[in-house]
């Protein structure tokens, strides 16, 4: 089977499962949350897996998308779906503002992105902006609350995200990004516009987080700034991505499915041991599978999508 068809099959299977599973198990938000992390992990994957930038402050785009969507509904009276797109646009605008961070690299970039996300959080939660963002009082979208519709839109956003990663896996642009990740000087000497390609990947990643944040806001409808700028969202998305394996389509899917599954299994059945078990598992995986779960398949000569 050609790789493009294999990738398309993965995409269809994942989306079909996301549509079918709530019919089998009524906790729809569980699967919504799963899709949120599937999409965010792919967003992290686009940035880290293809360019080598680890965005610890990725939640800044997510929160911006949530607020962009909410303000589009509350202030511009847009219907929810266009408002979700507005959330994505808001995150892209933030990405443009923060694009100079790409001048940094490694731990410096990670820390700077973290600080930037916190700065955005404090601006949004600032009491002086209560008239605009409702400051610390949070958002209520009770008027447009529709969990079923927002669930379906989330399936769409996840589909777009998976398709974007599949494109990068298959396209010249994806190879260019990986070349930049491995050796930016050589890539530049080969005629690659390093800055432009990095910024495009950064904005694509921001767009994904913004759209996901917008749909998340629609789904939960009542939230505080702390909920959508929660740093654990970034950390979980990064851990899931690293666990599955970066630079692939299936790695993050595998990471989210296994770790998010375990998160819920342990969290629901053995909450008292949750942090011990989960922490130990992650330490073991980092020690023995630094390349992620996908590296197990690669070691056996299997070409992971």
């Amino acid at each position: 089977m050609p790789r493009v068809w294999s990738g398309a099959a993965v995409l269809v299977v994942v989306l079909a499962l996301c549509l079918v599973l709530p019919q089998l198990y009524a906790n729809q938000f569980l699967f919504f949350d799963l899709m949120v992390y599937l999409a965010l992990a792919q967003g992290v994957n686009i940035l880290y897996g293809f360019t080598g930038y680890l965005p610890f402050g990725y939640v800044g785009f997510f929160g911006t998308g949530a607020y962009g969507m909410s303000l589009a509904v509350l202030k511009l009276h847009l219907p929810p779906v266009p408002a979700v797109l507005a959330g994505g646009v808001a995150a892209v605008v933030l990405g443009l503002v923060l694009a100079p961070l790409l001048r940094l690299s490694g731990a410096y970039f990670a820390i700077a992105s973290l600080a930037a996300s916190q700065a955005v959080y404090y601006v949004v939660a600032n009491p002086s902006l209560t008239g605009v963002t409702r400051g610390p009082y949070g958002i209520s979208l009770a008027r447009v609350y529709h969990p079923s519709q927002s669930y379906l839109v989330m399936v769409g956003v996840l589909g777009l995200t998976l398709a974007a990663v599949l494109y990068l896996r298959r396209s010249r642009r994806g190879m260019v990004l990986q070349a930049i990740r491995d050796d930016p000087q050589s890539a530049a000497m080969a005629g690659v516009n390093v800055v432009r390609e990095r910024v495009l990947a950064w904005l694509a990643s921001a767009l994904i987080a913004g759209l996901v944040g917008g749909v998340f806001a629609w789904q939960i409808s009542v939230f505080y700034p702390a909920t959508v700028f929660d740093l654990s969202t970034s950390i979980m998305a990064i851990v899931f991505t690293l666990f599955g394996g970066t630079g692939t389509l299936l790695g993050p899917v595998l990471g989210v499915t296994v770790l998010f599954g375990l998160y819920n299994v342990i969290g629901v059945s053995e909450p008292q041991y949750f942090q011990l078990i989960y922490g130990a598992l992650i330490v073991l995986l980092v020690l023995f599978l630094p390349g992620g779960a996908a590296s197990l398949l690669k070691r056996r000569g299997i070409d992971v999508l």
Binding site: L17, P136, L250, L254, D303, V304
Partner: protein, 419 residues
């Protein structure tokens, strides 16, 4: 090569399916729908076993558990719909102080465990996500301490606040006290979250209406833990009264910084000494809390007209004997939520959620518990008790709470200015 790729894809897809299967299988099995006479009444709730809200959530959960044990020791709660006592079972999950995890778990309680009654976790952040879910599933949410004003709207009849008024009305008595004392120079330092800022806004507004404009009115992030610079900045405005509105950790950090700063103010007010006195005293010391003003709540404030459930002294004795831990306001709030549920079961004509909510409206204003009068408005917000102002006065036996305002509940006079 092509076959190898196919196998790779199949293996990966299989793993993904297995993972999703584990996800489904691990989340418990569906409970059977409520039969005509259920063998037990299930009360679903969440608690924060770790994270920012753990110190407040766990005592509240402990209070609810204590109520269930008390009721079950008598053969269960009386359920009017079946004219018999039925045992109560609490189904609880740990949300780890995460609002997103809480969203999944609230849905789990409703859709999978099919609990008869739903109780929110501590505070507004962890309650906020339950509000639309409960409304969507037409399930009454018994909200213990989620006091965000936005939860209570005319078109949401599926919420009942059991223990505290909405935070915006908390400082009514405090503003009255400041104006009554003729204190003109007031500094307000608050956290920029719904709970604290709504108090700060009300306080500033009431003071301005009384002709007093705060000389310092400043919000800081909820994560603030260093108050030294802020205290010195406030001191520059020469306030007579300093009002610090925070969460327990902030109050502790503020009072510690004040003690070490060398600054002295005639009046200092913080929120949580009145709710978690032992925690504050352990971290700040009796000296650091001396003459501090606060909102006193049970057990520091005793309501004598109790006509439902244990009185404060009975509760304190029984709770300590059973759990070997101290009583604070949050354990009382958890127990009080149990009492409201008990009365609901005692009076509802069926276990349908609409009947449960109607039952609550029916006994609103008629029961007096150790937490005072239980009374809700048409939106489900608690309006039974306003919070008075108290002062912690040092005595030979330790700190004593003296209620100083309003006059109808006053137990002594304030020591002002503080020595």
């Amino acid at each position: 090569m092509r076959m190898r790729r196919l196998i790779g894809w199949r293996m990966a897809a299989g793993a993904a399916l297995l993972g999703m299967g584990a996800l489904v299988a691990g989340c418990g099995t569906s409970a059977a729908p409520t039969a005509k006479a259920p063998t037990q009444i299930t009360v679903g709730t969440l608690y924060a076993g770790s994270g920012a809200f753990a110190t407040s959530s766990l005592p509240e959960y402990q209070g609810l558990q204590f109520w269930a044990q008390q009721v079950n020791a008598k053969g269960g709660a009386f359920v009017k719909a079946y004219n018999k006592r039925i045992k109560v079972k609490i189904v609880a999950y740990n949300d780890q102080s995460s609002a997103t995890t809480a969203t999944t778990l609230y849905t789990q309680l409703i859709t999978q465990n099919k609990v008869n009654l739903l109780v929110a976790d501590f505070g507004s952040v962890l309650t906020s996500v339950a509000v639309p879910i409960a409304r969507e599933h037409k399930t009454v949410l018994f909200d213990i301490t989620g006091t965000g004003a936005s939860f209570f709207t005319p078109n949401n009849k599926y919420i009942v606040l059991t223990s505290l008024p909405t935070s915006g009305v908390w400082p009514e008595s405090l503003a009255g006290f400041l104006l009554h004392k003729g204190i003109k120079r007031v500094a307000i330092l608050y956290l920029t979250n719904d709970f604290d800022q709504s108090q700060a806004t009300t306080l500033a507004s009431r003071l301005k209406a009384g002709g007093v404009t705060p000389v310092y009115d400043h919000g800081v992030p909820t994560s603030t833990s260093s108050y030294n610079v802020l205290i010195h900045a406030m001191a520059q405005s020469k306030p007579d009264a300093v009002i610090e509105l925070g969460y327990p950790n902030n109050d502790i950090a503020f009072l510690q910084a004040l003690a070490s700063s060398g600054q002295h103010f005639n009046m200092v007010f913080t929120v949580f000494p009145g709710q978690l006195l032992s925690l504050l005293q352990k971290n700040v010391g009796a000296k650091g809390l001396a003459y501090t003003y606060t909102y006193p709540t049970p057990p520091l404030l005793a309501y004598n007209k109790v006509n439902y459930g244990l009185s404060l002294s009975q509760f304190t004795k029984a709770f300590q004997a059973q759990t070997h831990t101290g009583v604070n306001f949050l354990t009382i709030a958890g127990y009080n939520a149990g009492l409201v549920i008990q009365k609901t079961l005692d009076t509802a004509k069926s276990l349908r959620q609409s009947d449960l909510r109607q039952a609550v409206a029916g006994f609103s204003g008629k029961i007096f518990t150790l937490d005072g009068r239980f009374r809700i408005n048409s939106e489900g917000a608690q309006v039974g008790e306003t919070l008075p102002v108290g002062q912690l006065v040092p005595t030979t036996k330790g700190l004593q709470m003296v209620v100083v305002y309003p006059a109808k509940v006053k137990t002594g006079s304030s020591v002002y200015p503080a020595p």
